[in-house]
Subunit: 134 residues, 2 copies
């Protein structure tokens, strides 16, 4: 069959889609075991930010390995996805935390007591738009 049903997105299109969504999935790997965690996120200066509880399993995972990030949308037969791979770090400077708190509209899925910011730098992003086969 023709592969015309798939369109490769440009890097700019990928970042536009990343900036327009607020819900994605983060994949981590530690000790040979892979995990996926859904996160509420936002984008600033081509970096992904999300919040997680201090000392959480997720926080321990993101600093242990490379990470991958994914967003997608399926509407009927039309779908797109954007994936990226990179590294994560804990935002540990107080001034940077305060600045992020003030400037980012970033809410965790659930209110908890003590949350920290995690910054994900994606070394590469790629995306595809599909016309689903039925």
């Amino acid at each position: 069959m023709s592969d015309a049903a798939v369109t490769t997105l440009s890097e700019q299109e990928c970042w536009d889609l990343l900036a327009g969504e607020e819900f994605g999935r983060l994949a981590t790997s530690a000790a040979g075991s892979v995990a996926i965690t859904p996160v509420n996120y936002c984008v600033r200066d081509q970096k992904i930010y999300f919040r997680s509880a201090e000392g959480s399993k997720l926080v321990s995972l993101v600093v242990a390995s490379s990470v991958a990030f994914e967003i997608d949308q399926v509407r009927g037969r039309d779908a797109w996805s954007v994936i990226g791979q990179g590294e994560a770090r804990i935002v540990d400077s107080m001034s940077e935390q305060d600045e992020l708190s003030a400037s980012l509209h970033l809410h965790p899925w659930v209110d908890t007591v003590k949350e920290i910011f995690v910054e994900v730098t994606l070394d590469e992003v790629s995306g595809r738009r599909f016309r689903l086969a039925r």
Copy 2:
């Protein structure tokens, strides 16, 4: 804040949700690098099946490591997610492939020439239902 906004799903609820969806994300890890790939899938006997091109990068990744699988849904302030971890294998017996082709309504996102089945066995599944904080 109260954590009443999160409900833990039972294993049966997780499998019911997995059986009811057809679009998920698979995470793989190889050589220290994590990746996420969206897949069209179906469930039979608590196993996840999807198709991928023979010799594809995805096929090489799933056999190299443990995998994780995720589905989710966000509708306004209500969201749920189901995640699982396990192993993948290529379905290599011809009789099993034919039987899967005949019995599963499993279509790849895009029609391609030669596709094989991948079976994912999840050792554990867990799920949560959220009332998103705003």
